[in-house]
């Protein structure tokens, strides 16, 4: 198979599709990504075998369904990814009507999160940075400010770990994080961050969907330990950090899976156990992110409040 090998979320990925991720070594691989023939990917709505779906106003943004030969992850109008039952290969069929520039973003993010989730791994809807070998995960729904906070932390001196997708593993009372892709994707209104501190010299580009992709200095740790998880929430109020204890800490993690919209209890039991293990091992906080103010100062203060001085 042609292409290159990447290291993504702890997987060695051999891909025909160029991915924005660190290079992996040699021919060893956990999963292959092949490019299939382009085809239109229509919005079929709910159907048999559906395991997960994200819909709003009658439109499907993504869906995952089980089929006779594995699983199909569909992003109507953009791509369809066929995943084999052994979770070792993905065939990507891009919709010619969609924006090809987004295909590698979805493959490296949503598709890998899907494969890992199906394999029973815990993948959070989170960005993460690393300071002195210790990782901080920023969780939250889309638009909560995860990427902005992570980018601001990198501008303040933290190292980039992952954007929007974070695989974590709890093991013997400790939690480990796996690095994701190289870049942080920012909305245009956060473009000013790329002129600050550690981001000023980072490579940046514009993505197909109008976002600014900035590649901060990456973490050099292969699997840094999670120091704290922070659930972000946008607010007009001043920044406030509040620790969540017990059940609410677990629920905060459970509420932020990267593969959203899982139907019924599918995989939910293993998610609950994994989230409980994480919340037993590391503190979970809720942070209000003010809409106004200097995000770099805010990120720096947050890391300091978490006991991570830079």
């Amino acid at each position: 198979m042609s292409g290159a090998t990447y290291l993504l979320h702890g997987l060695r990925v051999r891909s025909e599709l160029p991915l924005d991720a660190p290079s992996g070594d040699g021919d060893n691989r956990d999963i292959t990504v092949a490019l299939g023939r382009p085809r239109q990917v229509p919005d079929l709505g709910p159907g048999p075998g559906e395991l997960a779906a994200v819909r709003a106003e009658g439109r499907t943004f993504s869906s995952l369904r089980a089929c006779a030969d594995g699983f199909v992850l569909a992003y109507p109008g953009l791509l369809e990814a066929h995943i084999d039952p052994a979770l070792s290969s993905i065939e990507v069929r891009a919709d010619p009507r969609g924006d090809n520039g987004l295909v590698p973003v979805v493959v490296a993010g949503g598709a890998m999160a899907c494969v890992l989730t199906l394999a029973g791994r815990l993948v959070l809807h989170a960005s993460a940075v690393e300071v002195a070998g210790r990782a901080v995960a920023v969780l939250g729904v889309s638009g909560a400010g995860k990427s902005v906070l992570a980018a601001a932390a990198c501008a303040a001196g933290a190292r980039h770990l992952s954007d929007d997708v974070l695989r974590v593993e709890a093991e013997s009372g400790r939690v480990w994080c796996f690095p994701g892709g190289r870049s942080i994707r920012l909305r245009p209104d956060a473009a000013g961050l790329t002129r600050h501190g550690g981001l000023a010299t980072a490579a940046s580009s514009h993505s197909a969907d109008g976002r600014i992709c900035v590649a901060p200095p990456p973490s050099s740790e292969p699997r840094p330990e999670l120091h704290a998880a922070v659930v972000a929430r946008r607010t007009s109020a001043p920044s406030r950090l509040r620790r969540l204890e017990g059940g609410p800490a677990t629920v905060a993690l459970l509420s932020n899976p990267r593969l959203a919209g899982l139907s019924g209890g599918y995989l939910a039991g293993s998610h609950l156990a994994a989230c409980a293990a994480v919340s037993r091992a590391v503190p979970v906080f809720e942070v209000s992110l003010p809409l106004e103010g200097d995000p770099v100062e805010g990120a720096s203060a947050l890391l300091s409040d978490l006991g991570l001085a830079m």
Binding site: E245, G246, G247, P248, A249, T250, V251, L254, L262, S263, G264, G265, Y266, A268, G269, L272, A273, A276, S279, R280
Partner: protein
């Protein structure tokens, strides 16, 4: 007596004394406070509402009548949500 059994469709995890209860059928989860979590554990162990009440009275310094009413309400709530199976029968 009232025989109770935690539903097969339920899994839960206790974190710092508080349970997060997951309904595997619907994917919905519920949080229980410390006393409710202890009650759930005792229900799982004994399956007997009276025994649960007796144990909770010993462990918590609360009025028995108040505890009994709260416990009954919790049990009814869990049964309505399908998290607990109840069977009222003569002692």
């Amino acid at each position: 007596m009232t025989a109770l059994r935690v539903s097969d469709q339920v899994v839960y995890e206790v974190i710092d004394g508080e349970a997060v209860v997951l309904d595997l059928e619907s994917g919905r989860y519920f949080q229980l406070n410390g006393v409710a979590t202890r009650a759930l554990e005792l229900i799982r162990e004994t399956g007997d509402l009276q025994a649960v009440e007796e144990q909770l009275v010993q462990e918590y310094e609360v009025d028995r009548a108040l505890l009994a009413a709260d416990l009954r309400q919790l049990v009814d709530d869990l049964i309505v949500r399908g998290l607990l199976n109840g069977d009222d029968r003569p002692a």
